[in-house]
Symmetry: C2
Subunit: 225 residues, 2 copies
Amino acid sequence: MKEQIGELFSLIGDQVRSNILWTLLDGKAYTASELAFNADTSPQNISMHLNKLLQADLVQVERQGRHRYYRYSKPEVAYAVEAVVNLVPQKNNKAISGSHDDPIRHCRTCYDHLAGKVGVLITDSLIKKEFIVPVDNTFDVTFQGERFFLDLGIKINELKNKKRAFARPCLDWSERKHHLAGALGAALLNRMLEQDWIRKKQNTRAILITSKGQHLMYHYFKISV
Amino acid sequence: MKEQIGELFSLIGDQVRSNILWTLLDGKAYTASELAFNADTSPQNISMHLNKLLQADLVQVERQGRHRYYRYSKPEVAYAVEAVVNLVPQKNNKAISGSHDDPIRHCRTCYDHLAGKVGVLITDSLIKKEFIVPVDNTFDVTFQGERFFLDLGIKINELKNKKRAFARPCLDWSERKHHLAGALGAALLNRMLEQDWIRKKQNTRAILITSKGQHLMYHYFKISV
DNA sequence: GTTATATTTAAATCTGTAGTGAAATGTAAT
DNA sequence: ATTACATTTCACTACAGATTTAAATATAAC
């Protein structure tokens, strides 16, 4: 008994593995690469860690082609992770406790694209202006959309040549609505970073919006953030 | 944030520290030596680990003379520990889930003496027969008691010469009643082990009662276990 | 005052396991 | 078929951090 508890605790007590568990807390299934990206480590390493979590039945996999989607194996894991996260020293707790205007819920990265309230607002705006239209489980870019994105410095043709999904909706756990993912979502995030609309904060998925970014977001998307 | 979570997870993710946390789950305060005994490691090592837990505010100390009593600093720690313990693989779960007849609640060691239902029954029996009588926060052994223990092979005089507390009550977390601790409690446990009344199970505080032990416990204490 | 017990501190050592590099496997796109 | 991407497997290395050795401090017992 004592021994098994020790094993379990050391299992979750690793920087990378705790990062995986913390990332999965949003309930979504992530691929190994995404988890590697988030934890800022190599795919081999993530693979090793995921294996350990699999063997302990803390996570489960679902194979889809060459992707493997990982998620919690059971809700108890989420409860445990939350209970432990709840122990982090006082003053930083608000980022977790769930107030609706904390940075991580307002604007963050989701793998390689924008998420959170801002991510959802931008996506809504693009749909409303008919720059993108939902088709099946993807987005198509309209003719006006193509011009709009070109104006932002994003060439749609080039993106479509990439192997990865061009534009797809991604469910936002804090907003419970979809935001723009795929190559287009990634390109948009990159462009915003390049042009200093937004800046990445150290050690968090939260994103800071510059005043330049605020102005331009209003100009392009008619949103106030 | 991510960084702090990683730190916290690795803090609890150590064999010895998880053992400490698991031991403290009964809500009692333990001394450093007791925790070292439980975790089967050296006092220096326990001291180091306790320091780390202290700094992270997972436990708190209370000094009493040359003893230092450690306990959880807040109930949230217990919740987290329980939530994690709840994740240990299936078939062994019943030892934790709390059914009232599981081995760990029935008969176990508490540091160096007997606890659990059996520990409490034996103590009750000794009091009822007036072999021991509660005085302040200790037990006195009566004249008949002295003869009784001698019959069992325990020499009261020798025990009284030891530096440690001779006989004291210890609150049982599973039974919510006191059981016999101190030098006398330890001597009783030892004697029972020597004479094969009981056997220690590997990797658990649970204790197995032999059929010889069952007969003798009825003979000496009039209890059926 | 001396000895035993409880605990901590500091420095030295050892070790489990995370991480890396190289290569294999298995899908998907063209 | 060939190239690209996603992921795993294996063997090797490195190092953080656990443990040990040794000594200090502090309280209690005699």
